[in-house]
Symmetry: C2
Subunit: 413 residues, 2 copies
């Protein structure tokens, strides 16, 4: 469908000012980059006429492109990586019982091409950049969004300029370099890398994929919610639990559930729970204080590098998602995150990075705190592959190899 | 189907002695562990009556369990990881043109649960161990088979004792530990770890998953060939290219194509090409010298740790696969392997470990040498995820991050 017919308008998350479908690739000029994030709304009534449960059930496309009718591009770009999204959901009855919920599913987004959830947004970002004839695309990232963007830019033959904090884990930096990106490692924080990237994009006319600043990233991220609905037979779970750094993933999930509700594909919405690391939880603070926005936090620290974000760029969308859905924010200590890595590996056979494990640790806490009840059906979003951060995995394992000589008598029974 | 009805017999690869379906979980006693590897043959005529193209086309099961009729277990074990195999095949027209073949597909087995092809064998190994009521399972491995086994053993609640050479990459060891395996790091080679593991299994009554020694591992590995056939509409490619260490994967692929031919599901067989690293190529030497078996090689070395095998345990099956299929063996230098990592990342968006890239580097060489023609349809098997070996990826990238201060004037245009 033509893009101007498909997208109804873009709306400022703060002042509700509306923009035409092609009018902005950034934030609301009245409210600025920190508050003026935009939400994309579609022509739902018209789309719903031909986009129904049966349409989807008949589709074999095993990627997020199965939702083309509600994606902000006119067609699937030929050059992009063919396998993004449509990640597996595992039903885990034993873990459900152990934690104390009626049903438990985990959605394993670590199997995406670059190993993280961020591929959902990056492929949309590159598709939008291609639409506009851009040849350079840029982003600042703690690591996953960057390696993901580098992959999709490489597939599309675009130049990628990536801003990372110098502390980004080496696996993520290795990915960037292998995919051929130009990597600028900033002697500073993620937040500083973010601002630097924004300024460079504006100055050089590069396409900017930055979370929150780019209104179309949520449209990629929302596809995980659409898949959850479809994979559960259009019966959404009672709750969805996900880790939160910038807030874009939880905001995107909420958008996805809303899109499907507006299209009549689901009949009710789940509650959304955001989990932060206790050492860096500005959105939890904002939630607890009843604020609509998060105050920047300096010097946050956690082993979950992907969500170590002091200034959450998608704070408005994240807080709105949690409040509108009647969910909550919570936070967990690093020790609980490490334990969740172990539990997921040993009881579900899924090896995740610390930020992903944070969501699972959060679920345990939410059940203990009585926010999620024992009769509820819960989905946990796992956002990144454990191979992304080996050092923390080794810490989490609580074990060491036993070094022996090649001598049978040294082998334990 | 009952296992005794489904499996016709096991046959020694050297002396052709036959064993009943439950008679052996190891090698032929007459020929010993080095030469007496066994092949599993099914009751094809009976199976073919109800296992046809239409049967498979109607199946939605996105895992190797879609081939249960020709797997050596009576049913799918409930506890095992739900997503093994049925990995994506990517059609790469641009790379096909660049390399000079008519069609090129790559099969990305790095998306398996533990990130490698070996998951296909490990899940069958654990399923067989469960059948026999074993509580401990063991293996020696350069890394991938081990981390894979650790994952499936964890899912099944079994104890895993893993023998690795002390030089195994840390990512693979981290996975082992996270999955809760007992890891014995041997001050010695993979070959020494292998012998030590065999002795310990026999002494302690542990189930042994070792490549070649266990006849059922090939039955897991063959499923990649079955998937290639199905994913190409039952029209196998002209050639399949795969890296070779122990030789079990190429042997397993050949078994898969043969099974489908015997069932009438395909009409012809592809040629199989095995690629070794030039620094450790005992199977290439055996092939060139017209030998049926490989002479052990001491002191082999390559960046492709997964195929750094001086004494290939599945040499009989590997050499037979290459010769019977009218394929060949070849070898590539480490530099070509690093270049293949870059090419696959930057032109196909797939990040692979060195051993996987070896197959792609081999394809280039086979085309240059005229062994694979410009009019041929080729599938390349990619056996492991690039996140498994970050150090080599960094070397392969040929790039480094540019470190800058958070200062716009330091950003290049």
């Amino acid at each position: 469908m033509d893009l101007r017919r498909k997208i109804h308008f873009l709306e400022c998350d703060r002042c509700q000012r509306r923009f035409g479908p092609s009018e902005s690739e950034g934030t609301c000029p009245d409210c600025g980059p920190t508050l003026g994030t935009l939400t994309v709304w579609y022509a739902y009534d018209e789309i719903a006429r031909s986009f129904q449960r049966e349409t989807l059930l008949a589709r074999r496309e095993p990627s997020l492109w199965r939702y083309l009718e509600i994606l902000p591009v006119p067609e699937r770009p030929a050059l992009l990586h063919p396998r993004v999204g449509w990640t597996p959901m595992y039903d885990l009855p034993r873990l459900a019982q152990e934690i104390g919920v009626r049903r438990l599913w985990i959605k394993d987004d670590g199997v995406n091409p670059s190993g993280s959830f961020k591929d959902r947004a990056s492929c949309i970002g590159v598709a939008r950049a291609l639409l506009q004839g851009k040849t350079t695309i840029t982003a600042a990232s703690t690591g996953n969004a960057a390696s993901s963007l580098a992959l999709f830019a490489a597939c599309a033959g675009m130049r990628a300029v990536i801003f990372v904090p110098q502390t980004a884990p080496s696996a993520k930096v290795a990915q960037l370099l292998v995919f051929g990106a130009e990597v600028l490692a900033i002697r500073g924080t993620y937040d500083q890398a973010f601002d630097l990237c924004l300024a460079a994009a504006e100055k050089n006319g590069w396409y900017c994929r930055n979370t929150a600043i780019n209104p179309f990233m949520s449209e990629g991220k929302k596809t995980a919610a659409l898949e959850i609905c479809e994979q559960l037979g259009f019966e959404p779970p009672d709750c969805v639990v996900v880790s939160v750094g910038d807030g874009c993933i939880i905001g995107g999930l909420w958008k996805g559930f809303q899109d499907f509700l507006r299209l009549g594909l689901i009949q009710r919405l789940p509650r959304l729970y955001g989990v932060q690391a206790a050492g860096c939880a500005p959105l939890l603070t904002a939630f607890q204080q009843g604020q609509d926005m998060a105050a920047p936090l300096l010097g946050g620290h956690t082993c979950a590098d992907s969500i170590c974000v002091g200034q959450p760029r998608d704070h408005l969308k994240a807080l709105r998602a949690v409040r509108q859905s009647h969910g909550a924010m919570t936070a967990v200590e690093d020790e609980a995150i490490l334990e969740a890595i172990r539990t997921l590996a040993r009881k579900a056979g899924v090896f995740v990075e610390p930020a992903a494990a944070t969501a699972f640790a959060g679920l345990k806490k939410l059940v203990e705190d009585g926010l999620i009840g024992n009769d509820e059906r819960v989905a946990v979003m796992l956002t990144g592959n454990g191979l992304k951060d080996i050092a923390t995995a080794l810490r989490a394992s609580g074990r060491e190899p036993t070094v022996i000589d090649p001598d049978p008598s040294q082998v334990p029974a």
